[in-house]
């Protein structure tokens, strides 16, 4: 049997001299009908370029195929070489025979057209359907991707749907003409874990229903276990290893594959939590940060005079305390209020109610400075590109009335060395550093004022897995060395397991479960915590079917003057509380 797709010695280059700037070098693989190939690699490994070469979208990004062949077996069993095809032929193949979904569902759809129109377009172009027929086909397509109430949703514009719903719409468009090959380029990276699990479940189901082949590109080797038949590992533009799923996951040969499998945080249901720095049972020490009844509301205004008619209850009565040297992880999905909590603690958003007190350290430098500092998610956006590293590190000191003297300079160099950056970094600029190095810079900057609490808002989420592992190690080391308390905000349970001593699960602005990390992860009590943990992808769950859950997150907009009923807690063990749902 001839494979559906046969890629042989593929080379792709960019720029004016593509032969000299090759980013994909000699990649070969075969894909049979109904098979799923996962291409795994870190950023810059050439995995997306390989996939984009198959439907030749790489041409539009300035790339050129410099060698090799991509042979597609078409519906009529003729063999067609995509590398030499002309654009009009490719237009017919794209969509009809090769479908594609992208990473960002929010930007892949046209914001001013209804999703109905956008799905119909695919039917109009490839099947020649018009009018009512096209609308009916679009409704069927939405039903197929399990969007409830499809007929009404056709009239929605993209801004009215959540990210997970939009990704389903993208899948519906890609599958409109029953392509025999679907290319999915990091389709779940921009989504929440529970939504990610839903999309993965949907893709697996659709694959079974239609029998299509799939190329799944991801940086997360843990994610592919549930869906792939074969894995291709890429590094620096070359395929370093490929083979059957079980063979690669259980018996990797290439050192890079071993490294990737080792670096990716494996979720171990509370068995891999930290043993050091546990909370002591006697509560004699004063907490580094104590938050009491924190409420953040944003008014919703409507009508001619902009009267407040309601409020978004972003954070609704959150209490916790954080001991020195302890990590409290705040876990939840986007929109749950976890970032707002952090920003309120730092004073970046004004809290409506509630108190927080943080312990100020007695040190000479930065007297009266905020004892809470923050490291942001995106290391590319949180450093001013026009300032040298010396100016960036000096800013917190200057802001608190200090001067750039010998003492400050000495502190800068020690901290730079401590976070593992070269000594000559001070005179350089942010763009000369990689993402991981920039995040180290942000950590160094946060430590310039000797804070007692550091808020880490998804601080490792944007990094590649191997870099992520090293930054996590650094954070743990720094915590031991300086006795820092971390407020670690994350959606990734596997990362949280590695760094947290305690975990607070937040849902719709309220803590639903809080307690010792081992206890919460091994015996989750609240249904939402269970759902979050069930959604974590691991390499142990091979070909496991996820339950498809299409429930939407409830609206946080409440009428004016609404107050939630006071929380009642069930106690499980010495340090594990669960909110009782009314």
């Amino acid at each position: 049997m001839i494979p559906l797709l046969s890629v042989c010695d593929l080379r792709v280059g960019f720029g004016r001299n593509p032969e000299a700037n090759e980013v994909v070098r000699s990649v070969s693989f075969d894909l049979a009908d109904g098979e799923t190939l996962a291409i795994v690699g870190e950023s810059g490994s050439g995995k997306s370029v390989t996939a984009l070469s198959i439907n030749r979208l790489v041409d539009f990004g300035g790339g050129r195929i410099t060698g090799g062949s991509i042979k597609l077996r078409r519906t009529d069993n003729s063999i067609f070489d995509l590398t030499t095809a002309a654009e009009p032929q490719l237009t017919k193949i794209r969509g009809a025979e090769i479908g594609m979904i992208f990473q960002e569902p929010m930007t892949s759809l046209n914001p001013v057209l209804t999703i109905g129109t956008q799905i119909e377009e695919s039917f109009r172009l490839h099947r020649g359907l018009t009018g009512r027929q096209a609308t009916a086909a679009a409704k069927d397509a939405l039903d197929r991707v399990r969007i409830p109430d499809a007929a009404r949703r056709l009239k929605y514009t993209p801004n009215q749907l959540s990210g997970g719903m939009l990704q389903r719409v993208m899948i519906a468009i890609a599958l409109a003409c029953n392509p025999r090959l679907l290319i999915a380029d990091e389709p779940t990276t921009a989504l929440d874990v529970t939504v990610q699990a839903q999309i993965m479940a949907l893709l697996a189901e659709l694959k079974r229903e239609t029998g299509m082949s799939m190329i799944f590109i991801t940086h997360d080797i843990g994610l592919v276990a549930g869906i792939a038949d074969k894995i291709l590992v890429m590094q620096g533009g070359e395929a370093v290893e490929q083979g059957e799923l079980n063979q690669i996951l259980d018996n990797p040969q290439h050192p890079y594959t071993k490294h990737l499998l080792h670096a990716v945080p494996h979720f171990a249901s509370g068995r891999a939590t930290r043993a050091d720095g546990r909370r002591e049972s006697d509560r004699s020490t004063e907490p580094a940060l104590k938050v009491d009844g924190l409420v953040v509301r944003f008014p919703v205004k409507s009508g001619l005079f902009g009267r407040a008619t309601g409020a978004v209850h972003a954070v609704d009565g959150v209490d916790f305390d954080l001991m020195p040297g302890e990590t409290l992880a705040i876990v939840g999905e986007s929109g749950s209020g976890k970032s707002t909590t952090a920003r309120a603690v730092l004073g970046l958003v004004r809290s409506t109610r509630g108190t927080f007190s943080a312990r100020i350290r007695k040190t000479a430098a930065g007297q009266g400075a905020l004892p809470v500092q923050m490291v942001f998610q995106n290391p590319y956006a949180s450093l001013n590109p026009r300032l040298s590293i010396a100016s960036i590190l000096a800013e917190p000191v200057i802001a608190n009335g200090g001067h750039v003297n010998a003492e400050t300079r000495a502190k800068m160099t020690t901290l730079l060395k401590r976070v593992g950056l070269p000594e000559n970094s001070l005179e350089r600029y942010p763009h000369e550093f990689s993402g991981g190095q920039r995040q180290r810079l942000c950590i160094a900057r946060a430590l310039m004022l000797n804070p007692s609490v550091v808020v880490l808002d998804e601080a490792v989420s944007a990094l590649d897995v191997s870099v992520q592992a090293r930054v996590l190690e650094l954070l743990v080391d720094l915590q031991r060395e300086f006795g820092l308390a971390y407020l670690f905000i994350s959606h990734d349970m596997a990362v949280v397991e590695r760094i947290a001593h305690r975990i607070a699960v937040i849902y719709a602005g309220q803590i639903v479960e809080i307690g010792d990390a081992t206890s919460v992860l091994s015996q989750p009590k609240h249904p939402y915590t269970k759902k979050l943990i069930a959604a974590v992808p691991t390499i142990d769950r091979r070909h496991e079917r996820f339950e498809l859950d299409t429930r939407q997150v409830p609206s946080l907009v409440r009428p004016l003057g609404f107050e939630p009923s006071p929380a009642k807690w069930d106690e499980f063990g010495p340090d594990h509380k669960v909110r009782v749902e009314a």
């Binding site: 026009r386 040298s388 802001a399």
Partner: protein
């Protein structure tokens, strides 16, 4: 010093820098009176004399030497352009930053005032101001500055609004940085690129607006020379004495080219991301 070396290392910087330096030299010589002839002296016998060894660029209707008048005209036009653009850039940056920083009501009020100013055609607004204040070099400068302020305000406000929402500004707030520090180091420093581009464009427009005002008799007053005035005087003699139009026209054109090249170079040099590749 670093900027000078950067300009020299940059290809379009070298060309643009050379052009601008040449103009400055000519203007300086013109100011010192080191011109081939007296720019105001009327050589009655040599009226409308074509360019030759004695009069390099010919003479005008009154027998005045075009080359000498051009040298003093460059000084006059450049003074007006430089000062008006400097004032406009300064006022526009301050207003744009204020609108972006204070937001809400202030943003609304400031930007609506700017919209009103923008609604007038540039030359009409300048005419209005000069009609009230009376003609002269300094009124021209002020008038042109007012005309171009709204453009700078808009150019600054947009990027400033987006920069204000960036994470490094949030980070600065968490250290407790003062608004002055955030405004100068985080916002203004990142506005250098759009501002440089805008300044070079505005210099070219200001030269043309000054020419336009002089053409209408409201800018530089005769018998003093400016590039625009010379160009406007040439219009009736275009066929009999084409050099009267060609030389001032080409002078304006090359100066604008010089400003644009120099501006491109400055934009690259001031960007730390480009520095390594140039130097």
């Amino acid at each position: 010093m670093r900027i000078f070396r950067g300009v020299f290392a940059h290809t379009s910087g070298r060309i643009g820098g050379a052009i601008v330096a040449l103009y400055l030299l000519l203007a300086f010589l013109g100011m010192l009176g080191l011109t081939p002839h007296n720019p105001l002296m009327q050589y009655r016998i040599d009226r409308l004399h074509a360019p030759d060894g004695a009069y390099w660029m010919g003479t005008d209707l009154f027998g005045r030497d075009v080359a000498s008048r051009l040298m003093t005209g460059i000084g006059q036009s450049f003074t007006v352009a430089f000062f008006s653009v400097a004032f406009a850039a300064l006022a526009g940056t301050v207003l744009g930053l204020a609108a972006a920083w204070f937001g809400r009501r202030w943003d609304g009020i400031l930007m609506r005032i700017m919209d009103v100013l923008l609604a007038f055609p540039a030359i009409l607004l300048a005419l209005l101001i000069i009609a009230v204040a009376g003609p002269g070099t300094w009124t021209s400068i002020v008038a042109i500055a007012i005309v171009y302020t709204p453009i700078f305000t808009r150019v600054v406000r947009g990027p400033a609004l987006s920069l204000k929402a960036r994470e490094f500004v949030d980070a600065a707030r968490t250290f407790g940085s003062s608004p002055t520090y955030i405004l100068t180091r985080h916002l203004l420093l990142n506005l250098v690129a759009p501002l440089t581009v805008q300044v070079t464009l505005a210099l070219a427009w200001a030269l043309l607006t000054e020419a336009g005002l002089s053409f209408l008799g409201l800018g530089t007053q005769p018998p003093a020379a400016s590039l625009g005035l010379m160009l406007s005087d040439s219009r009736n003699l275009m066929e009999t004495a084409p050099w009267l139009m060609i030389f001032p026209g080409v002078t304006i054109m090359i100066s604008i080219l010089g400003f644009n090249l120099l501006g491109d170079a400055l934009r690259d040099i001031l960007d730390p991301r480009m520095r390594r590749s140039i130097a």
